[in-house]
């Protein structure tokens, strides 16, 4: 019992924190000063603005004030008043008299302003007949519905000009007794346009409300532990609605965010369903370590690491070209950033997503402390709504194709290339039968054959089908939502591959009768079966065009054997392998809250998530090439089970109060989290028959190749104080003290915090006259966050058992070098932003500038193999700076009854720079990074181009006698990164038609085709552009002569050229990312067939791409499958 709750935190310190928190809350409680019953005011003004007068009344009375500034500005009259110590009621009445268009109303302790209604005729007639008694009061009842006739529960019905009113019940019905027959009812409901209905002595009234066009500034944004509106937000948060995501036929929601959010850079690694992409918020902060954002689903952190087993040589569902660059960042074969394995989000159903918030700056992310350095992505799932039970059914069917193919040589051109290559190198003497197995494409195969391997390997149509259903409803106090779905996505590959998902989502919300107790339970369950191949067939499109037919007549693989050996690598061999991955995912969260006293709420959330992946890879002998094809050892099987479970408990105290003229929001909370991951993998071989390979028991050799276990503990205390003064001056302070088990003793805890401030200058009096600016806010934030994205236990020196034995004893192998002293990477974020609303918020513009500096860089420091390993975790004194501008504009261009047109666009300009690195010159990175340059800068050879006069070989600036620059001559700096990127969305609706069009654009440089095609002639097929090669002195070309030898001067020069300034090309592109077209069936049709509503739609993804890039796709680059053009049709009905 001697230790404290917070590990290394001394008890006294803990006590102090508790005292401070208590004091803070106490102070706030005392300010719960209530206005006295008979407030008196004194006003002496000759000509003051109405607003000033009202504020003065508010100040003296301590009453609340609520008014529309624009209304006041436009219709308010200067006020002349002189009263001394009169009750508020009287002052208000006098003020109203000074106005001709407005009236000031006192409702309880709230002072509000509204337009005077034009005098109704009844009043006039009353005026004419002052002697007539008023008509007798009547009782009325009615029903309030939305446009589609759904009852609205909780809508407010008020008799205009009075304090009388009621709210509608569950079925939308209301009753008002004893009102005047000429009364006017004002009906309002959150999210709908307020409307008025004249009673005209009717006793039954039915009214429907139109959904309100919500101002962008009124959108509620979640910042994880608390929410605010965009108007009052001091931080930088972008919200994407689930509807925007669902318009895109993708199984992984990450892909749907591409081009939608300023500052969010997503780069798909491949068009294979579920393939992991790189997700970066505001660039790469960490030089060599985790740069993934923190993902939180309904309050539960969700691991962004792929579940694919580390024991598998290549991860399932993933191109094997994806390899680690040895420095921690997964890269694909072109050095582009990208993840490995299957995306963990692939099993999360996009239909269940209500919204996604992307948290970017220090103000928004510092409350996530050590995990917030790379930004935070909050995923909120759908919740049930009160009212009659509603069913929804959504069905969708689609077809996908590769959008772009490359122009590759046909057989004739290919043979010309190869023969010329032999001639050039003087090796024609090798073209004799003895070497038939070396050069079967010229000496053995049928050279009249032609196969378009792109068509065979990636030319199929990928089918996509998706069906989703949901049921929701509930009472005022309890609401529920149940949904389920199934989707199936195929591939463009040969073979019967698919990625299937089934999911269930359940949500229950409950509040007690007095609304003081709240409970929320959410559960997501996903089940996915994938039999996607463990590599990308795209890499084999370079197969020689005269290669043999892939299959024999009997359906077996054709290896075209020569003397018992295969003469080619049949690219379809893998279609005989059987890969399978079954993933189950459970994410659940229970949140309960209780309002202890007004404004003070105790809350706690309990989250649990569990993911499990079962993988198997069966290699039958029918997939093996001769001479090994009938050997028992050619039949092998790998199995792996991986599971990760997380629990998290987050108790929290919330406090809201008025403090002075402002609103105070405070919270203090804690986090306790544990992740346990476990994996087991097994390999078996030596089956006597292909029929037995599913069961390792039948194997002659069966080895347990790995068992891994990791336990991650994390705890924190966090707090936030937000203060908003008259919705004009905003202040937000957040802090967190964090402990993570990934660090060694004494290094586990870190402190993080941020301060954000906002100034809504449009509320200032001097701004009143600028009428075209309806909203204006300046905000600034500064703070620190950290990153603990490193593997567990790296501070310990560990030995792992080997899976085989020597002299009967199992080996024990050191797993890594050890440094017990590494600690947090520190990220300091500074941001300034300007949010402007123009023309009554029809145009909203947001501009942000940020500067993030990441220092104390934690990374697997590259070491020479001399040390026994390739690296060790260390903190480097280096500082990486990311600066950027982000622009977002949203406009409501046209808004008429039938036609609406809205647009939005975003642009991100990003610069990355290494600004300090003491000791760089003597570190392992002396030739990798340079002060003042981007950390994604590659150092290239400097090419002088082709020697067209004599050799036809590329030449370089080099001192080397052989003409090929040595590595330390590669000094031409070229940042291989995105310079700027963004997206443009347009949304049109005309009556029942809706059309959404989204473009994505990226400006970037990329390595050209030379980086993934070998020197022409040395191996495989080539792009047709190589036919313009140099042949004779004086040929005017920039394409090198053909060569057959991989070690020849020409081949070496080709490789050097690919890694030179001339091996870089413009990889920019503009992509029509998404077109979504839908038609809402007319309501009267629906009623006939018993539907609430029905919608048919057509969605298209990646319709076309405009680029100068020579290759399959400028985003995925290299020989990996490009994103598919997917077109779907669908039907959505409400039951």
């Amino acid at each position: 019992m001697q230790s404290t709750a917070f590990g290394k935190m001394p008890f006294t310190k803990l006590l102090r924190i508790m005292k401070v928190s208590a004091l803070l809350l106490l102070l706030a409680l005392q300010t719960l000063a209530r206005p006295t019953a008979s407030a008196q005011v004194t006003l002496k003004e000759k000509s003051a603005s109405l607003e000033k007068i009202l504020r003065s009344i508010q100040k003296q009375s301590n009453y609340s004030l609520s008014f529309d500034e624009i209304l006041l500005k436009e219709k308010g009259k200067p006020v002349a008043i002189s009263v001394d110590n009169v009750p508020v009621e009287e002052a208000v009445a006098i003020v109203t008299k000074t106005q001709d268009q407005l009236e000031v109303i006192l409702n309880g302790h709230i002072i509000s302003v509204r337009e005077k209604k034009p005098a109704p005729p009844a009043v006039l007639s009353q005026g004419l007949n002052p002697m007539l008694p008023p008509p007798p009061p009547i009782d009325i009842s009615g029903k309030i519905t939305d446009k589609d006739g759904n009852p609205l529960n909780g809508a407010s019905v008020k008799v205009k000009g009075t304090n009388r009113g009621t709210t509608t019940a569950l079925d939308g019905v209301f009753v008002l007794k004893g009102i005047e027959g000429n009364a006017v009812l004002e009906i309002s409901f959150v999210g709908y346009e307020t409307t008025t209905v004249a009673v005209n002595n009717k006793t039954s009234i039915i009214a429907s409300l139109n959904a309100a066009t919500q101002s962008l500034q009124d959108v509620v944004v979640s910042k994880g532990y608390y929410s605010t509106t965009q108007r009052l937000n001091t931080g930088d948060v972008t919200k994407v609605s689930g509807d925007d995501i669902r318009k895109q036929p993708v199984t992984d929601f990450i892909q749907a965010l591409e081009g939608k959010v300023a500052g969010l850079d997503i780069q798909q690694a491949s068009g294979i369903p579920g393939a992991y992409g790189a997700v970066r918020i505001r660039g790469q902060n960490s030089m060599d370590n985790g740069n993934d954002p923190l993902y939180i689903i309904d309050g539960v952190p969700f691991g962004s690491a792929s579940m694919s087993s580390t024991f598998f040589a290549t991860s399932l569902g993933q191109p094997s070209s994806l390899v680690s660059n040895g420095k921690g960042n997964p890269v694909n074969s072109n050095g582009k950033n990208g993840g490995e394995g299957m995306s963990p989000f692939n099993s999360l159903n996009t239909s269940d997503i209500e919204s996604i918030e992307v948290l970017k700056d220090a103000d928004a992310t510092a409350i996530y402390g050590s995990r917030g350095a790379n930004g935070v992505i909050l995923i909120t799932t759908k919740k049930g709504k009160a009212g009659k039970s509603q069913g929804e059914l959504n069905m969708q069917q689609g077809w996908g194709k590769v959008t772009r193919m490359m122009n590759l040589l046909n057989t004739q051109q290919y043979l010309v290339m190869k023969r010329e290559a032999f001639n050039n190198d003087g090796f024609s003497s090798f073209l004799v039968p003895q070497f038939a197995s070396n050069f079967p494409d010229l000496l053995f195969w049928d050279t009249t054959r032609y196969t378009d391997w792109q068509k065979v390997l990636i030319g199929n149509t990928a089918k996509y089908s998706n069906i989703q259903g949901s049921l929701s409803g509930g009472t005022v106090n309890t609401q529920f939502l149940i949904s389920g779905g199934y989707s199936n996505q195929g591939t463009v590959f040969p073979g019967n591959y698919s990625d299937q998902h089934a999911s269930a989502h359940f949500n229950l919300t409950h509040a007690s009768e007095n609304k003081r107790f709240h409970a929320l339970f959410t559960m997501d369950y996903g089940y996915a079966i994938s039999n996607l191949p463990h590599f990308d067939f795209t890499q084999y499109i370079t197969t020689a065009p005269d290669a043999p037919a892939p299959y024999n007549k009997d359906g077996s693989l054709n290896w075209q054997p020569l003397n018992g050996a295969q003469t080619w690598n049949n690219p379809l061999a893998t279609t005989f392998d059987q890969d399978k991955a079954i993933t189950t995912t459970l994410v659940s969260n229970l949140s309960i809250g209780y309002e202890l006293v007004k404004g003070l709420t105790l809350k706690s959330s309990f989250g649990y998530s569990r993911s499990q992946m079962d993988q198997s890879n069966l290699q039958p002998s029918s997939a093996a090439a001769p001479p090994n094809n009938n050997n028992p050892t050619s039949r092998s099987t790998s199995f792996a089970v991986n599971e990760v479970s997380t629990w998290i408990i987050e108790p929290q105290i919330n406090y809201k109060a008025k403090l002075g003229k402002g609103q105070l929001d405070a919270l203090v909370g804690g986090t306790f989290q544990e992740n346990v991951s476990n994996s087991l993998s097994q390999r078996a071989s030596g089956f006597s028959s292909d029929a037995l390979i599913n069961n390792p028991v039948a194997a002659t050799t069966s080895v347990l190749i790995g068992k891994a276990y990791a336990d991650y503990h994390y705890e924190a205390i966090y707090g936030r104080v937000g203060y908003n003064w008259e919705e004009k001056y905003l202040l937000n302070i957040t802090a967190r003290r964090d402990g993570s088990s990934r660090f060694g003793p004494r290094k586990q805890f870190g402190n993080f915090g941020a301060i954000g401030a906002g100034w809504i200058f449009s509320k200032e009096s001097f701004f009143r006259n600028v009428s075209f600016i309806s909203f204006g806010k300046l905000r600034v934030s500064y703070g620190t966050t950290g990153s603990d994205q490193i593997p567990d236990y790296r501070y310990l020196s560990l030995y792992a058992p080997q899976s085989s034995s020597y002299l009967g004893v199992t080996g024990l192998q050191p797993t890594s070098l050890t440094n017990p002293d590494f600690a947090w990477e520190i990220n300091k974020k500074l941001e300034g932003g300007l949010d402007i609303g123009l023309m009554k918020d029809r145009i909203n513009l947001s501009v942000s500038y940020y500067q993030n500096r990441s220092s104390n860089q934690l990374l697997p420091y590259s070491l020479p193999f001399l040390t026994g390993f390739s690296g060790v975790y260390e903190n480097l004194p280096a500082t990486v700076q990311n600066t950027g501008w982000e622009f977002t504009i949203t406009t409501r261009n046209i808004e008429t009854k039938d036609f609406k047109w809205t647009s939005s666009a975003n642009l991100t300009i990003l610069r990355n720079k290494l600004i300090a690195f003491p000791g760089l010159a003597t570190s392992s990175y002396a030739s990798v990074w340079y002060i003042g340059q981007s950390i994604s800068t590659r150092h290239l050879n400097y090419s002088n181009g082709l020697d067209t006069k004599t050799t036809g070989v590329y030449t370089f600036q080099t001192a080397n006698a052989n003409g090929i620059p040595s590595f330390n001559e590669a000094t031409y700096p070229e940042p291989i990164t995105r310079n700027y990127f963004g997206g443009i969305q347009n949304s049109f609706s005309f009556k029942q038609f809706q059309l959404d069009v989204s473009f994505q654009f990226v400006k970037q440089d990329a390595f050209n085709y030379m980086n993934y095609f070998p020197a022409p002639g040395t191996a495989g097929n080539e792009p047709t552009i190589v036919m313009g090669r140099w042949q004779n002195p004086g040929d005017n070309t920039n394409i090198e002569k053909f060569t057959i030898t991989a070690g020849s001067a020409a081949a070496k020069a080709y490789t050097a050229q690919a890694q030179s300034n001339l091996g870089i090309t413009d990889g920019s592109f503009i992509r029509l990312k998404n077109v979504a077209f839908s038609y809402e069936l007319p309501a009267k049709w629906n009623r006939k067939i018993g539907l609430q509503h029905a919608r048919v739609y057509l969605n298209a993804q990646n319709l076309f791409t405009i680029t100068k890039y020579l290759g399959l796709d400028p985003e995925t680059q290299g020989l990996s499958l490009p994103p598919l053009r997917m077109i779907t049709i669908g039907l959505q009905v409400g039951l």
Partner: protein, 488 residues
């Protein structure tokens, strides 16, 4: 303020809720993973310390270091003919080694060698003043670790020339090492091997570290002596120090006179020189179990059952055997195609087992035959013609050949011994390539106009850079004190 007490009660409750849920456990301190051991506990116990040592032997086998070295040096020298159009092997074959991993091949013992040296250094340090392990066992483990450190440093100097000498596991030191001259590295190899001689048991031990076994798979004193003999011979060549040959002779004699070892007749069957625990074996690598093929990488890869896809025995090697050489008959295999005309390919057939259900062969590292040739060469260098001839003829006679009848001047004898090494030790641990380099014969054999390099389609450069492998690019980039070998 009258509600203050109430508030305080509720606040304390809340604070307790927030802060008190973990009780008193140090929440963020996790236990080490149960699936692994912490280093300190590994070396607190004889059996786990022994396991840590055995890992090196297992890795040497599993990483196919031996086969890779044989294949790469075989292509570089005149032992193997390349097949299949793979850039990596082609560049080796054309003597066009480079530093780009994707398009040029090179000897790549570097990462594994220094990983084994690191593990050995950890064991050497952990055995010092170790209170948990008896001094005799600590001595045996230290001796084996020093032997490993010597073995891989020896391999490194022969592949790369001057290389860094890693004598500590401390990465702060090893990450900044610069090159040590080849001669100095060899001298350190000799120092380590002398230490190992003093520490190691005469007999072979099993995993208990105390019981004697017939399995010749852990280095013993004779293994250290055999490697020491070789190291003295190489040092004599590289340091041009004739006094080293006497040392080489003395160490080789010590092994030859050891009654544990004897030459095994060369026969077509599998109970051959390379059988497991053969009488000739001084140190072999056991095939770790379970094994998929129960065969050595050499047996599995060199033996042809179809036309070759990587390599076959070169015509230079095939034609260098004298008539009736049992080694040609039994250590060279033949594969004939069924096509018309039939094509014939030759392959290294020292290991007979390509795939089996049980293990009958181990991977040979040190064997007695080489000790005779070391002594023959050491004696020839010292002018002892009769002694040299005696050893040479022992090897020749075993191969069914008559006594050497050529000229007996020193140069001729040395040439005869070099040739005998070629046919005796082909495709074993890079002997041929290392012999050509240390004796300086490489220029004549590969480089003379119209000679082997040209026949292979390569160009032999006069600057001699092709004799050494380029140091891996990663090392040059990460160690600021390391320089690339000239010419790369």
């Amino acid at each position: 303020m009258k509600n203050f007490n109430l508030y305080r009660t509720k606040l304390s409750l809340a604070a307790f809720l927030v802060l008190g849920t973990t009780g008193c456990k140090k929440f963020v301190e996790t236990d080490p993973p149960p699936t692994q051991l912490i280093a300190t506990s590994v070396f607190n116990n004889t059996s786990t310390a022994t396991s840590a040592l055995f890992t090196i032997y297992q890795n040497m086998y599993n990483n196919q270091d031996c086969y890779n070295l044989e294949l790469y040096t075989g292509l570089l020298s005149d032992e193997l003919q390349v097949y299949g159009n793979q850039a990596f092997f082609n560049t080796l074959y054309h003597n066009a080694m480079g530093t780009s991993n994707t398009s040029s091949g090179a000897i790549n013992t570097w990462p594994n060698a220094y990983n084994y040296i690191y593990q050995a250094n950890v064991i050497i340090a952990a055995m010092q003043n170790n209170n948990s392990i008896s001094s005799s066992i600590a001595g045996q483990l230290t001796g084996e670790a020093k032997f490993i450190r010597a073995f891989w440093h020896f391999c490194q100097v022969n592949a790369y020339g001057d290389v860094p000498l890693a004598l500590t596991a401390d990465y702060a030191v090893t990450s900044k090492l610069s090159k040590t001259s080849r001669v100095q590295v060899l001298q350190q190899v000799i120092t380590d091997l002398k230490d190992a001689q003093n520490l190691l048991n005469d007999k072979y031990l099993d995993a208990t570290d105390t019981t004697i076994t017939t399995e010749r798979v852990r280095p013993n004193k004779a293994a250290a002596t055999a490697l020491l003999a070789r190291a003295y011979l190489y040092l004599g060549d590289y340091a041009k120090d004739a006094t080293q040959y006497a040392n080489a002779e003395a160490q080789a004699s010590s092994v030859i006179s050891n009654s544990l070892y004897g030459l095994v007749p060369i026969t077509p069957n599998t109970s051959n020189v390379f059988a497991k625990n053969s009488n000739e074996a001084i140190w072999q690598l056991q095939i770790p179990l379970p094994s998929g093929t129960s065969a050595t990488p050499e047996g599995n890869n060199f033996i042809l059952i179809s036309a070759p896809s990587i390599s076959s025995i070169s015509s230079q090697l095939y034609n260098s055997f004298e008539p009736n050489d049992l080694r040609k008959a039994n250590w060279i295999g033949t594969y004939q195609t069924t096509s018309t005309p039939a094509l014939t390919y030759y392959y290294a057939y020292k290991y007979k087992v390509r795939q089996a259900s049980s293990v009958t062969e181990y991977e040979m590292v040190l064997r007695l035959g080489e000790q005779y040739l070391i002594r023959a060469e050491a004696r020839a260098q010292q002018g002892s013609t009769s002694g040299a001839l005696s050893d040479l003829n022992i090897i020749r006679n075993r191969a069914g050949l008559p006594n050497y009848s050529g000229a007996t001047d020193k140069a001729s004898l040395l040439t005869a011994i070099l040739h005998e090494r070629q046919v005796e030790l082909f495709c074993e641990w890079g002997h041929r390539w290392f012999d050509l380099n240390r004796t300086g014969a490489v220029d004549a054999v590969l480089g003379a106009p119209g000679n082997v390099c040209a026949a292979k389609g390569g160009v032999w450069s006069t600057d001699g850079h092709q004799k050494l492998s380029p140091i891996p690019l990663n090392e040059i980039q990460t160690d600021p004190n390391l320089t690339q070998n000239p010419g790369y």
